[in-house]
């Protein structure tokens, strides 16, 4: 079995639409987390990383009829999906699969119409509620794919989609896979995170001693991954390697992380083992770094367990985008690959002092560094922890 390469990327998040806009915002160091505009919530005090386009704007961008029954999560997904497939120059859907991660699914409309559903109104959105419904709407943009799958492991959904797509290729079930995730903001999960008291009313401060919670965001991102040989055969231009990945379970608590960060440790070490490289080879970690007390402390502990005294450069880019939950894994995979290809580490914004117990300081100013191997971490509720490693083709 040959190597797995990335041949296309697509992204939409609060920083903008497309890899160029997102990378330039990261370089400028300007976050895009602020007052809610599109989501109808009374919690206007909570900063969010909202995509600036309205549903109608996205529908018109995608040439969808204005009466389409489509919710925001698949709309965001379609925008990113088209970019990824376009960059990869993928035209033949034979033996190509789509693995999509989402948790919110069609909740954005269900929460608006739920009570009316029972009166027989807006019932066309009942069938658009579940996670798989949106996957199909996105995947159908491509014609007849060989298979579609939906994954929902909360904030690691998109990373697990990357892992499953890669395993489908390695086991001979597919020759190419479009993988990643999409998630719109919803009143449901904004209030859910708020009820858990893990939302910061100010811009989030990942890995800072004074961190006070996360800011939610929304977005979508997909990668096209392929077996190297078959990608080259069809004339595609590989961007980088998906060198290693692993999924593990913290098996500790439904929403909290174990103090020793066991799941995170197993995910990172598993990815290193699969990539066949030593911890010292990692040049940059795009950390999960949500800004909650629990995550950042445990992730720091796990990073120290894996990397010992020589922790590589790391940053969380969630202060730029907000936490895009089920899309975070692929949004940050795209950011990691942009970092790798441009030899640029984006800043961990809003950091002033390290967490006392672990003493780790992230990269606080964006900088140019020669990068070869980049790790991206995504950890979900329930301890669904996954890591990926992207490497330059050398």
């Amino acid at each position: 079995m040959g190597r797995i390469v990335v041949t296309g990327m697509g992204i939409v998040c609060s920083l903008g639409c497309g890899t160029d806009k997102v990378f330039s915002a990261l370089q400028r160091g300007v976050p895009c987390v602020g007052t809610v505009r599109h989501l109808q919530t009374s919690h206007t005090e909570l900063p969010v990383g909202e995509v600036s386009m309205s549903n109608e704007e996205m529908m018109s961008m995608l040439d969808l009829p204005s009466d389409s029954v489509v919710t925001r999560t698949p709309l965001l997904g379609m925008v990113a999906f088209k970019q990824a497939v376009g960059q990869a120059g993928l035209t033949d859907a034979t033996r190509t699969v789509f693995v999509n991660g989402t948790t919110v699914g069609g909740m954005e409309k269900s929460e608006q119409y739920y009570l009316e559903f029972f009166e027989g109104k807006h019932t066309e959105y009942i069938g658009a509620h579940d996670c798989g419904a949106g996957t199909e709407q996105i995947g159908r943009l491509f014609g007849r794919l060989d298979a579609m799958l939906t994954i929902s492991t909360a904030c690691s959904s998109a990373t697990n989609s990357i892992i499953v797509g890669a395993n489908m290729i390695r086991s001979g079930r597919a020759k190419a896979a479009i993988v990643g995730g999409t998630e719109s903001l919803s009143k449901f999960h904004l209030n859910g995170f708020n009820s858990l008291m893990i939302l910061d009313g100010e811009p989030c401060k990942p890995f800072d001693q004074g961190r006070n919670g996360l800011n939610l965001g929304e977005g979508a991102a997909y990668l096209v991954i392929e077996e190297e040989e078959s990608a080259l055969e069809r004339g595609a231009k590989p961007l980088c390697l998906l060198a290693g990945y692993a999924n593990a379970c913290d098996a500790f608590h439904q929403t909290a992380t174990s103090p020793e960060g066991e799941g995170a440790y197993l995910a990172m070490t598993g990815a290193l083992k699969q990539a066949g490289i030593s911890p010292a080879a990692i040049d940059y970690i795009n950390a999960h770094g949500t800004g909650t007390g629990n995550n950042d402390q445990c992730e720091s502990v796990a990073i120290k367990r894996v990397f010992g005294d020589s922790v590589p450069d790391f940053s969380s880019t969630k202060a730029f985008t907000g936490h895009t939950t089920s899309a975070a894994g692929s949004v940050e995979a795209v950011i990691s690959i942009l970092s790798l290809l441009n030899n640029y580490i984006p800043a961990n914004l809003n950091f002033t002092s390290p967490i006392e117990e672990t003493g780790l300081t992230p990269v606080t100013q964006g900088k140019n560094v020669d990068l070869h191997h980049v790790m991206s971490n995504s950890f979900g509720f329930g301890g669904n922890d996954s890591s990926c490693i992207f490497s330059k083709i050398e």
């Binding site: 559903f117 019932t123 060989d146 086991s171 001979g172 449901f188 009820s195």
Partner: protein
């Protein structure tokens, strides 16, 4: 790479955590019927159970039942669920819509994420291995099974739990009713044989399978392989079955039965009837949704049915949809489709 189904456990609208349905099926006529609950105390301590929604208790009980007597370490837990813990999701949603966006109960939100099921099982079994959750409508379980099978192929696993969990709350039953999922009248068994209208009848399923690399005395059957497809034409289905038969080292004439998801809804059943007529006109067709109802997790019971028929060497008459040539079942295909979009076919052998 051969994989064996070592055990299976289910909680559904049949008697829970046993295989009584194989010999003494209960035929429900109500359009809506909730699962019969087992005595959860044997599987979940009452203190923790108090904080769990119904589906979580069922998921844990069926997982522990499937593992009964097993001490081997578990490498993976993979779950399929169309809607996750919809009961707690509804509670949080209704509280938010009726009482506003303040002082909402976090426990209902915590249990609303689909992966709360698989991660709770991992917590209780202290399993740090691979953990994933699929939410792909009527093929959620089939996707979960594929994940495990491909990792067996890659040599990444030697044991795994594969689970299916969906509950049908009264509210969700009503919502699905609005969009034509259910028949408007009581369900008679003859409806399954001559589906003239749309709509099925509702079920609930929590099912868990233990898969391992080696055959043991208790193994129910071997799983030779499985293929997922999207909107396949007949040629694609033939290719998929060819591939499975090659893996199983058999030919088309060695297939003793095909398990199909007939559910009494015309457009659903037509797909199976057409495929069977074209591909397996003389082969026994086996059905199961007349016993377990329709739900996003229902297809898991198709595998359970095939596994038990292979283990016991017979297809009981109440599971025969259409009688073909009479053979002792050695190789059974399990075919599932959702709205003729997502399809799955698997080969199970004794």
């Amino acid at each position: 790479m051969a994989v064996y189904i070592q055990s299976a456990a289910q909680i559904s609208i049949q008697s829970p955590l046993c295989d009584d349905w194989f010999t003494d099926p209960i035929l429900r006529e109500e359009r809506y019927f909730r699962s019969e609950e087992p005595d959860f105390k044997q599987y979940v301590d009452p203190m923790s159970a108090r904080r769990m929604g119904r589906l979580l208790k069922r998921a844990l009980a069926s997982a522990k039942k499937a593992l009964e007597g097993e001490t081997a370490t578990l490498d993976a837990i993979v779950t399929g669920t169309g809607l996750g813990c919809i009961e707690t999701t509804e509670k949080f949603l209704l509280a938010m819509l009726k009482e506003g966006e303040q002082a909402l109960p976090p426990s209902h939100f915590m249990q609303s994420t689909h992966n709360t099921i698989g991660s709770l099982i991992a917590q209780h079994l202290k399993c740090h291995g691979y953990n994933n959750t699929y939410t792909h409508r009527g093929t959620s379980f089939d996707c979960a099974l594929q994940d495990v099978l491909m990792q067996f192929d890659l040599g990444a696993l030697s044991s795994a739990l594969v689970c299916a969990n969906d509950e049908m709350t009264e509210l969700y039953f009503q919502l699905f009713d609005q969009i034509g999922y259910w028949k408007k009248e009581d369900v008679k068994s003859e409806m399954f044989h001559n589906a003239s209208s749309e709509g099925s009848f509702a079920g609930e399923v929590s099912a868990t399978f233990l898969l391992e690399r080696d055959r043991t005395e208790k193994s129910l059957c071997r799983l030779d392989g499985q293929v997922l497809m999207y909107q396949p034409d007949e040629l694609r289905v033939r290719e998929a079955i060819d591939e499975l038969l090659r893996k199983g080292g058999i030919g088309w004439s060695d297939v003793d039965g095909v398990v199909c998801g007939y559910n009494a809804a015309r457009s659903n059943d037509e797909v199976y009837a057409r495929l069977m007529e074209a591909l397996f006109p003389d082969v026994t067709q086996i059905y199961y949704k007349h016993l377990f109802g329709e739900s996003f997790s229902a297809s898991a019971m198709g595998y359970y049915v095939a596994a038990l028929c292979l283990k016991r060497g017979e297809v009981p008459s109440h599971l025969v949809f259409k009688k073909g040539r009479t053979t002792t079942p050695k190789h059974i295909l399990v075919y599932n489709h959702f709205q003729n979009k997502d399809h799955s076919v698997a080969l199970l052998s004794c």
